[in-house]
């Protein structure tokens, strides 16, 4: 008689605590905020979202049963005087059982590995996207603590804001005039590092018009938190119009302005009607001696990088003509 209420409390307290915990976790997940990674607006982001979903399901197939199994085992074999479950203190080996739990993870990981390899080659960032339209090239430099975007084909430049035409591949060429950062627009696709002495390539595309969140993802010092930018994906006409506006309404980016810009500090959004020829290439090779790239040997991207450099020079030539 005396025992009953106590054991009831012992059940109620954990249940209440669990519910409170879950509520605390779930409430903010529903409020505000946008799950940008799970709400992609371009082909790369979509494939990555699919991959996230596939890998989550594959993992969940194993871990959900295991979680349930753990709970059941702990409950069933707890030390209670009246527990009638079997007790076999010396049962410590079973080849059959162990074979099962070596095999199950091997199969799951095997499947996941196959999927991963396929996607790794498919989504290699320097691989051009399939599209009838020619990509637009944008040269990205991470500075301390702002982003500089140069549009070699349009001949303009911006700071901390990025405009792209929707529904057309964008070829980003990326470098840094500062410690290594990482260029990330979650709704379009995954990030890539920006590094001095090296021109990385990243193809992305926005399928829809809209404004997307972009930021630096790799820590670069004091005002790293200020390194964010909006990405405005617009129609082709609006993009051209915007380019014209920038050309007409802003000052050119001269070598001197660039030098000031490159000094450590934060910056507002800025637009430039032109930029010095070959500036991107200069930034890439700023610290490189005699063409001996500091990272000229760099896994699979070495050729990519030098390829990028060539095309960069061409692009710049084109826009200068």
């Amino acid at each position: 008689m005396n025992k009953k209420p106590r054991s009831l409390i012992r059940i109620i307290i954990p249940v209440v605590l669990t519910l409170v915990t879950i509520a605390l976790i779930v409430w903010p997940m529903l409020a505000g905020g946008q799950y940008v990674v799970l709400d992609p607006k371009g082909p790369i982001g979509s494939s990555q979202r699919d991959l996230i979903v596939i890998s989550t399901i594959l993992c969940a197939v194993v871990i959900v049963p295991v979680l349930i199994l753990s709970a059941v085992i702990v409950w069933r074999y707890r030390d209670k005087p009246d527990n009638k479950a079997a007790y076999e203190p010396n049962w410590a080996h079973s080849t059959k059982a162990e074979a099962i739990w070596w095999t199950v993870p091997i199969i799951i990981i095997g499947l996941l590995a196959i999927v991963t390899i396929r996607y790794t080659y498919d989504l290699e960032p320097s691989k051009p996207l399939a599209s009838e339209k020619a990509p637009v090239t944008i040269q990205v430099s991470s500075l301390d603590w702002k982003w500089l975007f140069m549009y070699p084909e349009q001949g303009i430049a911006t700071v901390n804001t990025l405009n792209i035409p929707a529904d057309r591949p964008v070829k980003f060429e990326l470098t840094a005039d500062s410690p290594m950062n990482s260029f990330w627009i979650p709704q379009l696709g995954g990030q890539i590092y920006t590094m001095s002495g090296m021109a990385m390539t990243l193809y992305l595309q926005a399928d829809h018009e809209g404004q997307y969140w972009g930021s630096g993802a790799n820590f670069t010092g004091e005002h790293f938190a200020q390194m964010r930018f909006d990405v405005n994906a617009t129609s082709e006409e609006d993009f051209d119009k915007w380019v014209n506006d920038v050309k007409q309404q802003s000052q050119p980016l001269t070598q001197e302005t660039y030098n000031t810009l490159a000094e450590p500090g934060t910056s507002n959004v800025a637009y430039y009607s032109s930029f010095p020829e070959g500036l991107f290439q200069d930034i890439v090779t700023k610290y490189v001696i005699d063409g001996q790239g500091a990272h000229s040997k760099h896994g699979g991207s070495a050729d990519e990088a030098s390829g990028a450099k060539e095309s960069t020079t061409q692009d710049v030539d084109k826009s200068a003509n």
């Binding site: 505000g32 527990n83 010396n90 590094m195 820590f219 005002h223 990088a305």
Partner: protein, 656 residues
């Protein structure tokens, strides 16, 4: 003159922040109190003889653990400060500069000065007892390792009040950590704090490898070793191969900063990416260094508290050895986004996933150890049971991160932060807590009361999920790590706010633990522990709590994994081992050299930090003299006579 002194002082001491002045005052008061208490109670001699010069593995272990709990406090305060700063958008509690220092010291301290020494503490206290040895293979070196760790950690912590803290992240990527971007002395503190304690870590690794290989009790074949000892063995193998990489990497970085070299600089052919490869060639194995012993602890506890043999012993050993091997081939998963190409990324993605297989097998074996057992819910077992789901989920998000193209979206985001805290807290910290509770009576000779311990357990666990689950979500919302602040327009604040609540709950959990220990110390006389309070299975439970300084009066045999359990069964059947005559026991003598030598290392490190060559040379000369002094000291050991052993045993065991 006075002016120059003032100017020097304002650069030498960190100034201008009330938090730091507060810390200065707190440190000052603590120091004075310690000195006053020691003097008043005339405890200086006791401190010197019993602790500062000891070579006893059990005392060294205890000192490691005390130091690591202090560091847990420091790292935890850092964590709470960060969480406070992130609780709301546009908070003005920590300036970016401070925020950067705080996450850097938090990460470095938690991994290198909290997890590592906690782990070494458990090694020290338990491994010799578990394998039936009188001490470790090299007791003098063991003491030296401890003092190197301790003074390295002190040097690192000093940066808080003198010179300024490092702020380039816990792995200090160049060029950010180079002179060009971090001109202050903070980075030097980072380098020398880690270097000095790193020598100690490497030496400990070697020491325990030799101890386990050479000093096992007669009859204890490899496959009869307790699982914790196996985990220590696997970890020490990793230490042996990984720590030299760290030492060399940091030495090169120091040459860049100190001697104008260009290994990792931006200019003149330096290659920062080389550093990133090197540091992760140590860094990834490092996380397995700290987690494998936790696996060992869980194995012991699961079996003891289920009153059942550990399931799948051979699989467990095999799994652990594979993990230590594979841990060296996954480092590039920390920079899938550095443009290494699809071949490289695919390779490292697969090797990373492979580790999930042996880890999964271990989980199944723990579960089936409980299956058909009898599970007792004492605090060590509760932490173990909390570990299992936490690690399963953390392991799952780890596998998700290893899917290279998906990691392009997770990398550097709060999703990653949530993942590694889940495995580091749920795996490593829970594991060491479990070990501490489990072996507490063996270390100190009294039991802790469970009540406060259970409060601590629940607040820690609830706090953990409330803190870190929202971080997975906010990562998917695009929040990147190491952000000192964020705007209202991001939509991140609810999640961050809840996360902060969780962090403070964990802080409360820590306070409960402190209260539990304080309460235990107050009542220790009434809480006296027997030799075998948990009905244990391995040899450490066959000797009194706390263990006498020579551990085993008679060298035990180790014919079975659960030797002590088997022995108890035999005794229950009335079969007693044959009486053996006692013999004098050979013991190492105390030595002041490890302590003194480490002080000289500290002086040398301090000199290097500030570029004061005279001081560095002075310190190194002191180190050299200590080495010479040690080479010429022949009076390093003694024998405990049989009479004294008899007296000790009689007083400890009563009539047994």
């Amino acid at each position: 003159m006075l002016e120059r002194l003032k100017e020097f002082a304002s650069e030498f001491f960190v100034t201008g922040d009330p938090l730091i002045y507060g810390a200065d005052v707190a440190i000052g008061i603590t120091m004075i109190t310690i000195v006053a208490v020691l003097t008043y109670f005339k405890k200086w001699g006791w401190l010197w003889r019993n602790w500062l010069t000891t070579v006893d593995h059990k005392k060294i272990g205890i000192m490691y653990i005390i130091a690591s709990i202090i560091m847990l406090f420091r790292g935890g305060v850092d964590a709470l400060m960060m969480r406070l700063q992130l609780a709301m958008p546009n908070m003005d509690f920590l300036h970016p500069e401070h925020y950067n220092q705080v996450f850097t010291t938090h990460g470095t301290i938690m991994i290198l000065f909290m997890a590592m020494p906690f782990m070494f503490g458990l090694f020290n206290v338990i491994v010799p007892l578990q394998i039936g040895a009188r001490d470790v293979a090299f007791p003098f070196l063991n003491a030296l390792s401890f003092w190197l760790f301790f003074l390295g950690a002190m040097l690192f912590n000093l940066s808080f009040v003198i010179g300024g803290s490092p702020d380039a992240g816990w792995l200090s990527y160049p060029p950010l950590s180079e002179l060009s971007h971090s001109p202050g002395v903070g980075q030097n503190f980072y380098i020398w704090g880690i270097q000095i304690s790193g020598i100690g870590s490497l030496a400990t690794g070697i020491n325990f490898l030799v101890t386990i290989i050479k000093m096992r009790a007669p009859g204890m074949k490899w496959m009869k070793m307790p699982m914790f000892t196996w985990s220590v063995f696997s970890t020490c193998i990793i230490i042996l191969f990984a720590f030299p990489i760290l030492t060399v990497t940091l030495a090169l970085l120091f040459l860049d900063r100190f001697a104008g070299a260009h290994f990792f600089t931006l200019d003149l052919g330096g290659n920062p990416m080389m550093y990133i490869n090197l540091i992760w060639m140590w860094g990834h194995p490092e996380v397995y260094i700290v987690v494998l012993p936790a696996f060992g602890v869980f194995s012991e506890i699961v079996s003891t508290f289920s009153r059942k043999k550990l399931f799948g012993y051979k699989s467990m050993v095999f799994a652990m050895l594979i993990i230590s091997f594979l841990s060296f081939f996954t480092w590039a998963h920390h920079f899938f986004t550095m443009g290494s190409g699809a071949d490289v990324n695919a390779f490292f993605a697969i090797t990373t996933m492979l580790i999930a297989i042996p880890t999964g097998v271990k989980i199944f074996n723990w579960l089936f150890t409980m299956y058909r057992g009898r599970i007792r819910m004492a605090t060590p077992m509760m932490w173990t049971l909390a570990f299992i789901p936490c690690f399963i989920v953390g392991g799952m998000t780890g596998v998700m991160l290893s899917v290279a193209p998906a990691d392009f979206q997770f990398h550097n985001s709060y999703f990653l932060i949530a993942h590694f805290h889940q495995v580091l807290i749920g795996g490593v910290v829970f594991g060491y807590f479990a070990g501490l509770y489990y072996w507490w009576p063996k270390m100190f000779g009294f039991q802790l009361e469970e009540k406060l311990g259970k409060w601590a357990f629940w607040t820690w666990n609830i706090g953990f999920y409330v803190c870190f689950m929202p971080q997975y979500a906010v990562g998917l919302m695009g929040m990147t790590r190491r952000l000192s602040t964020y705007g209202w327009d991001t939509g991140w604040w609810e999640l961050n706010f809840v996360s902060t609540i969780g962090a403070f709950l964990m802080g409360v959990g820590f306070l409960f633990q402190v209260a539990q220990i304080a309460d235990g110390i107050r009542k220790y006389k009434s809480l006296k522990a027997s030799a075998d309070p948990w009905d244990g299975r391995t040899l450490e439970w066959s000797i009194p709590s706390p263990a006498p300084e020579y551990n085993f009066a008679i060298t035990p045999r180790g014919d079975d994994v659960d030797e002590w359990w088997e022995e108890k069964e035999r005794r229950a059947k009335g079969i007693y081992p044959p009486e053996q005559p006692l013999e004098p026991i050979h013991m190492p003598k105390n030595s002041a050299i490890p302590f003194v030598m480490s002080i000289f290392w500290f002086i040398a490190g301090f000199g290097f930090v500030f570029g004061w060559l005279w001081m560095a040379i002075l310190g190194l000369a002191g180190v050299g003299i200590c080495m010479i002094a040690r080479s010429f000291s022949y009076d390093t050991d003694y024998y405990i006579p049989v009479d004294e052993i008899k007296r000790t045993e009689a007083s400890l065991r009563g009539s047994v």
